[in-house]
Amino acid sequence: MEHLELFFKSIFVDNMIFATFLGMCSYLAVSKKVATAVGLGAAVIFVLGITVPLNWLLDQYILRDGALVWLGPEYASYDLSFLSFILFIATIATMVQLVEIVVEKFSPSLYNSLGIFLPLIAVNCAILGGSLFMQSREIATFGLAVNYGISSGIGWFLAILTIAAIREKIRYSNVPPPLRGLGITFIITGLMAIGFMSFGGMLTGGEEKAPEETAQVSKSTTPVLNQNISSENDVSAIQENSETSQDLLDTTNKKIN
């Protein structure tokens, strides 16, 4: 259940493109044709599925506060989390190179379809973003990390596939000249993001707003992972809110009077 929830949440609710704008650069640059978009999308799923679990292991056993305790009790107080950027990006860059070599050796046909996109991916924000969100959302187990990597990859794939299809069709429409190309792509993506916001209520029953701002992204993720918010709590929270706003109104009324 936990897995299914994370799976759908990463694809639809926290879609990398529409909710957090990760990997926008390649999303805009490589979405002119469906065929190339599919290639890049597949490569992103592949690399995310490998690097997120790997970085999860790194985070769990080397980086986080007290993670080095397996070396011996005297290492328990070490906190290396400030090194996470450099370690994550190094893992990603080496993994991308490694994957490229392995795929070239064992599956030339896959290499031919993914080949040119793999080097591009090392500097795709979606890949590093996947690892960083994995860290800040405190994904609990290795299995969930694999799930998270693959499902956010699928979300990204979906986004680039749809925009590529729309861009192929939009060639036949009469777009105002200054908006042609980049401008209209931005606006369509914005409209699609509005559409994807409607998935926000899918898992929370509409209690919680879709993650729209960075501040809320980091806050909202933890409660959704352990999805046991009782409805009573919510009701009381709402009541509290209305009470406080009532207080505010009262005080302002007094001021006016």
Binding site: F18, A19, T20, F21, L22, G23, M24, C25, L28, A29, F82, L83, S84, F85, I86, I89, A90, A93, T94, P119, A122, V123, N124, C125, I127, L128, G129, L132, F133, Q135, S136, R171, P176, P177, P178, L179, R180, G181, L182, G183, I184, F186, I187, T189, G190, L191, A193, I194, M197, A210, E212, E213, T214, A215, V217, S218, L248, L249, T252, I256
Partner: protein, 215 residues
């Protein structure tokens, strides 16, 4: 301006308008959109990128002759990552609230395409001083867009600028709110960032028809 020759000045001024990294070169969009709901966050992000691009450009330019070209991407990533760690630690020390709010997006400066793009396109082929100017110019071009988007989103979305209420008080109904104005909360949601940038591109390209794309 005896300090800067005409060519050097072009390095700084070009990216501000006609060769803007965001609206023309389409680089560095990811981070530009996610953090612009508030002007303050946009400014901090712009400053961080300014620091990373300009210093990184100088470093890469200094070591450009000893980097083996095969592993240059990894070398570049390490340089950026080291600089971003500095920025991150400084922010955590002096502006903790803000660094929480920017969350992973400071880390994502590493994969900001503007930085890798400038390293590849400029710093690997030019001297440190020119690379420095190029870095400043491109970071300023990035900042301009970020600040415009942040300005409109915060002003229209929550009626504040840098946290100060400029349109009056929505609770006591003063200023604009007295005549029935309401904040457009939709501006704070992520899709509006895309649409605001779309509009900026529209305005820019209708003023300068050379920039119009053929589909």
């Amino acid at each position: 301006m005896a300090l800067l020759s005409k060519k050097d000045r072009a390095l700084i001024l070009d990216p501000l308008a006609d060769n803007n990294p965001i609206t023309i070169q389409v680089l560095g969009i990811c981070s530009a959109l996610a953090i612009t709901a508030q002007l303050k966050a946009s400014i901090v992000m712009a400053l961080s990128v300014l620091f990373v691009v300009s210093v990184g450009n100088v470093v890469i330019s200094l070591i450009r002759n000893i980097i083996p070209s095969k592993i240059r991407i990894i070398v570049q990533l390490i340089v950026v990552a080291a600089l971003v760690i500095i920025v991150d630690q400084v922010l955590k020390a002096y502006a903790y609230e803000l660094s929480k709010q920017l969350s992973v997006f400071i880390g994502l400066i590493i994969t900001n395409c503007i930085i890798m793009g400038r390293f590849e396109a400029f710093a690997l082929a030019n001297g440190p001083w020119r690379s420095f100017l190029d870095g400043i110019g491109n970071a300023l071009g990035y900042s301009v867009i970020l600040i415009i988007v942040g300005f409109f989103r915060e002003l229209l979305g929550s009626g504040t600028l840098l946290g100060i209420q400029v349109l009056g008080d929505p609770i006591t109904k003063t200023g604009l709110y007295a005549i029935g104005y309401e904040n457009n909360g939709f501006m704070l949601l992520s899709p509006m960032a895309l649409i605001v940038i779309g509009i900026i591109i529209w305005v820019q390209r209708s003023r300068n028809s050379k920039l119009i794309e053929e589909h």
